[in-house]
Amino acid sequence: MSDFNILLEPGVFPRLLNGLWVTVWIAGVSVLLSIPVGLVTGWLMTAKSRTIRAIMRVYLDFIRIMPQLALLFIAFYGLARLWNWNLDATGACVLVFVLWGGAELGDLVRGAIQSIPAIQTESAYVLGLTGPQTFARVVLPQAIRRLLPASVNLATRIVKTTSLAVLLGVVELIKVGQQIIDANRFQYPSGTLWIYGVIFLMYFIVCWPLSVVARYLEKEWATA
């Protein structure tokens, strides 16, 4: 237990915070890029064309049924081989999280769009709005209310999944923790407990507020 002092070693805490920043950066970029991808995906999922809907269905089902780690392996090892496309580990992570987040968000967008009464789009048509205009100015503003709580939940899931980046070799929070543990193995043999404890806590501190916000929005907007 006395190895708590490992956390007070100069440089340890700032390094962990740097690692956390990498984790949050990957998650943040992925969430931001997922939004346009998700909106387009959701829009395509409600398209009139059967072929487009079928393609989107296969895309969503494949992404959903594969473990995220398997998707990361496919992106990281497969793409390099297939198109000689040497994504670095961070790039592979962002790519997978955007494809995954976009698919999940797309499904949420689809649900929200379908919950908007048909009369809204019909009215927009009568008023002479084009398809994209109807989507952006009539459907989307109304759909956001149903969309946002679930999207915030999705963001927490993306943050948690970012932890898998360490298995591709990204130097993020967990990897930094492992480096600190290895560097202090002899001085603080029980440092493992404290470092992993702090990492555990850091993930919680990032994800928990998001969950609370999601729950609040759900309650607040459910009745409207």
Binding site: M1, M66, P67, Y77, T161, T192, G197, I199
Partner: protein, 217 residues
């Protein structure tokens, strides 16, 4: 794609799949037990225990399984809790899954209208009888889709156990890519193995959902 390589190394993936399934089956069974206990405590509003369950659910849902596993496998032995990688993976999966199961079951119980319990009281049911014959059957039908979704989620999550050196499907994939540079073949086997494991569950899940949806009948 080298099909003879696939034929030769497919048995590796069968072994890997068995590891994935073993961990998942025990982990999920334990998660269902933990979830049921937590849901019971929460819906019965037992003081103190209820707050503990709340804290557990928040911690478990807001941290990644990989970090939970590292903490269990590398951290806790320093306090004297030494366990095998298998035990760690199962406990980790149960720790994560317990909260998801609890939430699904709680939502199921809360969806049962109060009037049902009131009627049971009127009919002279004891508390236990009300729970067993009135609340649980109705709650189960609402909770089932969520529980099946959690089962699939937990099998997928079990893919990270390779990080604590368990030879599951992901471990085999990485090994074969590393040893023979057989990227296509290994990834193909990886995808096929997970599809074989997860597709039937997903199909049975949506079938169960339709079958047990009493409300729509």
């Amino acid at each position: 794609m080298d099909w003879s390589f696939i034929g030769h190394y497919a048995p590796f993936f069968v072994t890997g799949a068995l590891m994935t399934l073993t961990i998942s089956v025990f982990g999920i069974a334990l998660a269902i037990v933990v979830g049921a206990v937590c849901a019971a405590i929460e819906t019965a509003r037992i003081p103190v225990l209820r707050q503990i369950v709340r804290v557990y659910v928040e911690i478990s849902r807001n941290t990644p399984l990989l970090v939970q596993l590292y903490f269990l496998y590398f951290g806790l032995p320093k306090l004297g809790f030494v366990w095998s990688a298998e035990a760690c993976a199962i406990i980790g999966l149960a720790f994560l899954g317990g909260s998801y199961m609890a939430e699904a079951m709680r939502a199921g119980v809360e969806a049962v209208p109060v009037v049902q319990r009131e009627n049971a009281v009127m009919l002279g049911f004891s508390r236990l009888q009300t729970v067993v014959h009135v609340v649980v059957p109705q709650a189960a039908s609402t909770a089932l889709p969520g529980i099946v979704a959690n089962v699939i989620f937990l099998i997928k999550e079990s893919s990270v156990v390779s990080a604590i050196a368990l030879a599951d499907v992901m471990y085999m994939t990485k090994d074969l890519i590393g040893m023979y540079y057989s990227t296509y073949e290994s990834l193909f086997l990886l995808i096929v193995t997970y599809l074989i494991i997860l597709l039937p569950i997903s199909i049975v899940g949506s079938w169960l959902e339709r079958k047990f949806n009493y409300e729509r009948l």
